[in-house]
Point group: C2
Chain length 382, copies 2
């Protein structure tokens, strides 16, 4: 619970059933720092929110069940209408309301449905309802994701992180969204770089299917007013930890996933090289199906590495799978296939590829590619 | 049948069962033009064959069941031993023998097994055995791929194309290989550019899983001696047609595929832009699972386009699916979802994305992503 920040999550009727509308009310005007998808096709909420970047915020509306992406000018006008209605109910300014959406692309928001539901959402606002909010924003996620931390400065502070997403993008009902709330008073400029870095180290280090959504959004809300710089270091550490925890929760709940794989590239000349190789391995359907099948098929790993568009010297490469060294200098070491298969029949897979060319490293988390991934994504929308 | 080119395909024991060793003998020294994988990790046969680039060729050995990739210096030495033995049997020079391999990465060739089988392979050589050769080089392919054409110059000429591959890379037993044989006398320099272009327009326009193998190889063998330039135009046309036919046969037989999708990007400012968008859509697991599910989910198509790393103006984009216009200027046109679903329940899917920004186009073929793709690739190697 954070004093001065109230949450609600209700079933408004955007989805056929279940919670689908989350609302947050800040008792005082608050700062916000936002990061959005790099996709060239951006959802209406991103185009809308960006207009008010830097302005103080009083409320946040997040809906699931409809991405409000590729909806043209009408998609933005819809948010203006909803914002107007909410502003009246809360007696705040319309431009003090931000939005985020997740769900199917190309469909307009059911504006009348949402407008009729807003009074209920406002009435349900409580400091203790963060969990309802977290539940209202999920789609193909099998559970909601919420992390709390506390830390000390001139007084005791709290930080609450909420996220949804069953991968970087999850189709029909899509998108990665994350929101961080705190009563710690700090100005955006003091933490912009740390926030960007924390996102790079968390959400940008997970991938389910290599797909980048039209709606991806991470927002950090901090208190306005006199800053407490005595706790800045601790706040940054907690922020990193909250985002990392949320990212791991997302990847564990990746669509159809039965396993989480940690891919570590070591010994690169440059970090960029290590990153390209790590990301290429992490999205390889052949590597990911091998994980699903508990197959110690290192050939697929080195093949993906070779296809990353950066120099790789196969004769220098060492690979360990589940802490077992199975490739030395590009050539297979004798190993017991049955034993190795049993070792891979775990929820956690660890791959380390050492390029033996330098000191740079990069790591990333991915999932296995399973029948259920195909099932979830091949099933018709309606 | 081509006079002067003999084929055989036998079961040598590299695989537990089935044909696995193909041999081609050229009665006269022949020209060869080769193109190899862009993967930084290259199979032993590529490293070996390249040493003799430009030299005349008398024989070609192709095995399935073992990629001979990531096998270090030993993998190359193994080819020298096999080449030595075959050269003695055929009374030709060892360096006149070229190799190609396909199968699991990281395992050495069973040299003794292959050496013992060579006399049988030599004894089976016949001008009419091209089909046996085509059968010996397949892996997860459900059938062999062979195309024949004839054309006229100063005399009648033939061209035979053989290929294998159930996608750009097919895991355990992997790799795209293609070989073109002809009795048409032409020097490599006269057709190098046309060959490169024909490959670009055929094998480089198909993708099953976006994976690039360590072994991909395309070889064109032409007769040495006095050239017949009167048929050069026709030969180039036949070459394009043979490679295109083989490529389409490969994509139709893509691992687990139930559908072939043709993705056409139009109205780009530059061809490179159209190509990047086409390739990004063609490897998108979300688009490919939607094809499998007959889901007219155009949101996934525009989302993938937006993630291609090139500028896209969503508000200008038109999309047709199965010749039905469903998106105009970035916004959905009303369509009957049930009817559209039935129209997508076909073996062939046609997607046209018009960026409406220029005149450049690019098209590519891909498959759907199915339960069987996961099944084939998650099953343990042994």
């Amino acid at each position: 619970m954070i004093k001065g920040i109230k949450f609600s999550g209700i079933a408004s009727g955007i989805k056929p059933s279940g919670l689908d509308l989350g609302l947050v009310l800040f008792q005082e005007k608050t700062h916000v720092l936002s990061l959005y998808t790099s996709n060239r096709v951006k959802a209406a909420h991103i185009l809308y929110d960006r207009k008010y970047e830097g302005d103080p915020v009083r409320a946040l509306v997040v809906n699931s069940g409809c991405a409000n992406a590729c909806t043209g000018k009408e998609g933005i006008a819809d948010l203006e209408v909803i914002g107007e209605k909410l502003a009246k109910l809360l007696k705040i300014g319309r431009t003090e309301v931000l939005f985020a959406s997740t769900g199917v692309i190309g469909k307009r928001l059911p504006v009348d449905t949402i407008k009729s539901a807003l009074p209920v959402a406002v009435k349900s606002l409580r400091e203790g309802h963060a969990e309802d909010f977290a539940k209202a924003i999920i789609t193909t996620d099998t559970h909601h994701k919420l992390v709390k931390e506390t830390f000390k400065g001139k007084k005791d502070y709290s930080i609450i992180g909420v996220a949804k997403g069953s991968g970087m993008l999850n189709p029909n009902f899509a998108t990665m969204l994350a929101f961080v709330f705190t009563d710690y008073p700090i100005a955006p400029d003091a933490i912009r770089a740390a926030f960007r870095q924390a996102v790079t180290e968390s959400f940008e280090k997970i991938t389910v299917d290599g797909e980048c959504s039209t709606n991806d959004t991470v927002m950090l809300f901090t208190r306005r007013g006199e800053q407490d710089l005595s706790a800045l270091g601790e706040f940054k550490a907690k922020l990193r930890s909250v985002l990392k925890d949320l990212a791991i929760m997302l990847i564990r709940d990746g669509e159809g996933a039965t396993k989480v794989a940690h891919i570590m590239i070591k010994g690169a000349r440059k970090k960029e090289t290590a990153e390209k190789i790590a990301r290429r391995i992490a999205i390889s359907p052949l590597v990911k199906t091998a994980f699903f099948g508990s197959d110690p098929n290192w050939g697929r790993i080195i093949c993906a590495a070779g296809d990353a568009g950066v120099p790789v010297e196969p004769a220098k490469v060492d690979i360990t799978l589940q802490d077992q060294e199975i490739v030395k200098a590009g050539v297979e070491l004798p190993f017991d296939e049955e034993k190795m298969k049993r070792m891979m029949n775990k929820n956690e897979i660890a791959v380390v590829v050492n390029l033996n060319e330098g000191k740079a490293v990069f790591d990333i988390y991915t999932t296995d590619l399973t029948f259920d991934y195909v099932k979830i994504n091949a099933s018709y929308r309606s």
